[in-house]
């Protein structure tokens, strides 16, 4: 039997990823005001408010909060805000709605892996937010050079970027897992919201983890949120070194593997339940 060779699963997935990515990019820019509001402004406000809070605490130039002075905290908050923007956003995945409304069913009859479509969302997010962060970063460095944090070295910049990217992927998998609970639960937005602000706290978005009490600090350093925001910011500033970066990569890598395994099991079981329910 002759004919065009069927591409391998990996090639098919990659092709689908590219097509879905273009679709996602078009979709996200369909409503321009929405794009500006959702993509540009998201996640900027809380760190700005915290700058004012810290300004009232650290009134004297010699005042310190842990190992941070005011200038150091501003630099940290700018970085934390930027890195949090790069992290996948829980509202970027409407998987639970698709499950509730039965839209997932149509994909079950198609020769594709549904997860690739979700991955396209992740890729879209990284691309858009990466662009936004670079723009904001350039504008900030031009307008406020005395306050704007500079990387300790080129290597520190690369290491921080790698940690954030891997951390973002772990958070994306977490969002996927929470959304997939829609196979069992009637409502999951509350869990998504809770995941989001617990994550923010654990990641040290508003208060650096090193400022927290020792027991809390030691615990958080074993969790991936810390390595997704707080640690990259400190690697960037030169407060953490190469050994810390390697530890972060190990923690994030292991987390990603575990989350991926759980995701596969949960998705398989969820689908079995979904189809079994006669949707």
């Amino acid at each position: 039997m002759s004919g065009a060779a069927v591409p391998s699963a990996l090639v098919r997935d990659l092709r689908l990823l590219v097509v879905a990515l273009v679709y996602e990019l078009r979709k996200v820019t369909t409503w321009r005001a929405g794009f500006v509001v959702r993509e540009l402004m998201r996640g900027m406000w809380r760190p700005v408010v915290m700058i004012f809070v810290y300004a009232t605490i650290l009134v004297q130039p010699t005042d310190r909060l842990g190992s941070y002075d005011f200038r150091g905290l501003v630099a940290y908050l700018i970085l934390a805000a930027s890195f949090e923007k790069l992290l996948f956003h829980q509202r970027g995945l409407d998987l639970s709605d698709q499950i509730f409304q039965g839209y997932v069913t149509k994909y079950l009859t198609m020769p594709l892996r549904f997860f690739v479509l979700a991955l396209a969302r992740f890729a879209q997010h990284v691309l858009i937010q990466g662009g936004v962060v670079v723009l904001l970063w350039s504008a900030g460095a031009l307008l406020l050079p005395q306050w704007w944090p500079q990387p300790a070295s080129a290597l520190a910049l690369v290491e921080a970027a790698l940690l954030v990217l891997l951390g973002s992927y772990c958070y994306f998998l977490t969002c996927f897992l929470v959304n997939a609970l829609a196979f069992w639960l009637d409502v999951v937005w509350t869990l998504s919201a809770m995941t989001s602000f617990v994550f923010s706290f654990c990641a040290g978005v508003l208060v650096p983890v090193s400022v927290m009490p020792a027991a809390l600090r030691d615990t958080l350093q074993w969790l991936f949120p810390y390595w997704a925001v707080n640690a990259p910011a400190e690697v960037f500033l030169g407060r953490l070194g190469h050994a810390d970066f390697l530890r972060g990569i190990v923690v994030l890598g292991l987390t990603a593997v575990v989350l991926e395994l759980v995701r596969q099991v949960l998705w398989r079981r969820g689908l079995a339940r979904y189809v079994g329910a006669g949707m």
Partner: protein, 264 residues
Amino acid sequence: MGALLHHLRLAREFARVGVIRKSQFRVEFLTQVVMDTAWYLVHIVTFEILYGHTDSIAGWDRPQVRVFLGFLFLSDAFWMIWLGQSWHFGRELKDGVLDSLRLRPGSPIFVYFFQRFSLEACINGLMAAGWLGWALSGIEGSFSVGGLVLLLWALALSFWTRTVLSVLFTIAEFRAINSDLSNVAWEVSMTLSDRPVDVFPLRFRQLLTSFIPVAALSTLPAALVLGRITPLEGVLHSAWIFVLGLGVFAWWKRSFRGYTSALG
């Protein structure tokens, strides 16, 4: 008076319907209680960490900030109990779901914004009230009738402001469909109200106590009860926010006239 009674009866019916709905989604009930509890904890722990390093934030000491948090939590619980529908406004406007508001009698603002009563938020409201009671007990001075009146007044101010802001932010969606502006404005204002507004520079603080009165969600009510502002200042703030609210409602109704269903 007749209209007021009619809307009170409607509110009772919305509450009844909310209870019935929640009895069908028990897991949602639990997860929402847990979610809000986690939200409370994150705020409390954040402030406790900061007060581990300092005695005062913008002139607010630890017991006073605990009272501030009590108002913040109760105000949030009020929003969750009655005004949760506002979160869906942008999408519903885009999808033309507001058609029935045009057709049915009664105040469209009331019927839309108060339609989604949340039973679980009542649990959070109780927890928040407990926290506020505990925080107030840590403040020097004995209980008095005057203090109780101040407390009720402060709560009324906070709840009224929540309603006004919920309605105000949705007006943006009429201008920019599917922009998420109302939700983002809401998130921003909540972020600004998470800390006493005294942390901000004077001009910005004035903005937050006047035209976008997020200060009246928790800072002003706490300041009123704690004696950080005088009752006269409280009256002036309350009167202004009441008038502002009426203006916002009129503006919303006017904007609603431009609603084009799902045609455009």
